[in-house]
């Protein structure tokens, strides 16, 4: 029991350090608030995909569908009078969850390749629908006239991104804690059992289909919340929110950070966005080349090896921070 207690405390130390650093970032880099806001939104989006890929083993190339629905829902709600950010966020996440629930039955069947094609197809269909119904979505010109009310009636969204950054970070933290609780619950463990061996899980009493539908719906809600945050904090929505590259990017983020432990999406989002920001400043036309090269190196070198090296350094750092002896 004592060993369990020590283990849990050690994990908590690492998490505390992570979040203290994350919350300190806006204070340490006040000139990068917009970038930090983008990282928080991408991190939430990656977190939603991690729930699917890392815990349920469902691979998706169309996750932008839910992100886009959340973004358009938040934008349209604000444009048509419901400008309160938190209510808009909740409704947008709910809209994405409904789409997630309805489409979840399509991904229950088939192998990974089938799921890739089905999810990508859903994403492409929604992109075309958004383009076709330009009277509602603004089409290629984007959704104009999105004006958000001050957050909690107190904090207006400013150009420097102060409110946006704090808002996105707070939502990310809350939804992260919910996801953390979810994956450690019997529900989350049974998902991992389904991921490990679906037939075996079913034979010992895990209702695999129900579990997968539920997590797909929850992940869609998370992605919708991420999309809503983007729409609300930038006060603009374009077809880009539904674009295929967004689904591919978030998958890349998980490859960078690792899946199945929740922090991978957060770390991957930070690496991806900082690299994108830095490389775009160095070589505006060819930054994607360097991202691609990094991906190839990571895959060839083995992400596990890189991750183990980083984890060792991280553990040593947090132990030093917590005043524990290093082995």
């Amino acid at each position: 029991m004592a060993a369990d207690w020590v283990r849990r405390i050690a994990v908590n130390h690492r998490e505390w350090v992570f979040w203290i650093v994350a919350i300190a970032l806006p204070l340490l880099f006040p000139g990068k608030l917009l970038l930090i806001n983008e990282i928080a939104i991408l991190a939430l989006f990656a977190l939603s995909l991690d729930l699917l890929l890392g815990y349920a083993g469902i691979i998706s190339l169309g996750h932008a569908a839910f992100f886009g629905v959340g973004a358009y829902a938040a934008g349209l709600l604000a444009k048509h009078g419901l400008a309160e950010p938190l209510v808009g966020l909740l409704l947008s996440a709910a809209a994405a969850a409904v789409l997630g629930f309805l489409t979840s039955f399509l991904v229950l069947r088939g192998s990974d390749l089938t799921r890739l094609m089905v999810t990508m197809g859903i994403g492409l269909m929604l992109l075309e629908l958004a383009n076709r119904f330009d009277t509602i979505t603004g089409g290629a010109d984007g959704l104009q006239g999105v004006v958000m009310a001050p957050l909690l009636g107190l904090f207006a969204f400013d150009l420097a991104g102060r409110t946006a950054c704090a808002y996105s970070m707070a939502i990310l933290l809350v939804l992260f804690l919910l996801a953390r609780r979810l994956v450690r619950s019997p529900f989350g463990l049974s998902l991992r059992a389904v991921k490990a061996n679906r037939l075996r899980a079913v034979s010992v009493g895990v209702p695999a289909d129900t579990r997968l539908v539920t997590i797909y719906t929850i992940a869609a809600a998370y992605a919708g919340a991420a999309g809503a945050l983007l729409a609300q904090t930038t006060q603009f929505v374009s077809l880009d929110v539904l674009d295929f590259h967004r689904s591919a990017d978030v998958l890349l983020v998980l490859v960078l950070g690792g899946s199945g432990y929740l922090y991978g999406g957060l770390i991957g989002a930070a690496i991806f966005k900082v690299m994108q920001d830095w490389l775009a400043a160095q070589t505006p036309q060819y930054w994607q080349f360097w991202i691609g090269l990094l991906l190839v190196v990571i895959v060839l070198a083995g992400r596990e090896r890189v991750a183990v090296a980083i984890r060792r350094r991280w553990t040593a750092l947090t132990r030093r921070f917590a005043g524990e002896p290093t082995p």
Binding site: P186, S190, R192, V202, S203, V204, G205, V206, P207, A208
Partner: protein, 237 residues
């Protein structure tokens, strides 16, 4: 005791191939039934048929009065059938505790209670499934079936591949579950004498048909009868 399981004239197998032919058996609440027989006699197919994993050709299977003959295999665990597979089938990427927590359902068998029954598992609760020995994996498979709180547990060769000392340990657990806790169970096993000692009744299968049915004690007390029915003297020892 009320009847829990009733199998009548069951004919099942794999696709067109029929393995079990005209098999009938019954099990009361709190009763333990040993299923014996040579290799290929149809013991594992009987378990698979009760789990809905075979092709049904004829006959009926009733659990607590409900006809589950055509119930999908994925619904049988929910209907109250627990399973301890021959190959254990634990989730190797989950810890011992997570293996149990992932599937537990409300009922008398909670995770702390099975840890009381299996102190060794309690000691290794944080170890991953792939870090367990064969005996520990078998204990985990039994513990996992218990936390599902089923009405009936099917044990498929629970002593298979275990070292003699571990066999004794698993047998003592089976004795406690079947004799003291009075779990309703069907135990398929090659080691006839050992399983007869912990069960109430036994059936012997041969070429997919029931060739003997009676109290376990009768077979246990008469090794010659057991050997004759099994058709393999050595197996009966």
């Amino acid at each position: 005791m009320a009847e829990l399981l009733s199998v009548e004239r069951l004919r099942s197998g794999y696709a067109e191939a029929v393995v079990l032919d005209n098999v009938s058996l019954s099990l009361d609440e709190g009763e333990a039934l040993a299923v014996l027989g040579r290799n290929g006699a149809g013991k594992t197919t009987l378990i698979a048929s009760l789990l809905g994993l075979t092709t049904w050709h004829a006959g009926t299977v009733r659990l607590a009065g409900h006809d589950i003959t055509r119930l999908a295999s994925k619904r049988r665990a929910r209907a109250g059938i627990g399973w301890v597979p021959q190959e254990r089938s634990i989730f190797r990427s989950l810890s011992v505790e997570e293996n149990l927590t992932a599937i537990q359902r409300p009922g008398p068998w909670s995770v702390p209670r099975v840890f009381e029954l299996f102190p060794r598992l309690s000691e290794r609760r944080q170890h991953l499934g792939d870090q367990l020995s064969g005996g520990e994996q078998q204990m985990l498979a039994i513990a996992r079936a218990l936390v599902l709180n089923p009405r009936l547990i099917l044990f498929d060769e629970p002593l298979e591949g275990l070292a003699p000392l571990i066999v004794e340990e698993v047998l003592s657990i089976l004795r406690r579950l079947l004799r003291e806790e009075r779990l309703s169970a069907i135990v398929v096993e090659q080691k006839a004498r050992q399983v007869l000692a912990v069960t109430d009744r036994a059936i012997i299968l041969d070429r997919g048909a029931v060739v003997h049915e009676g109290p376990s004690a009768t077979l246990l007390e008469d090794p010659q009868l057991l050997a004759a029915k099994l058709g393999v003297g050595d197996r009966a020892k």
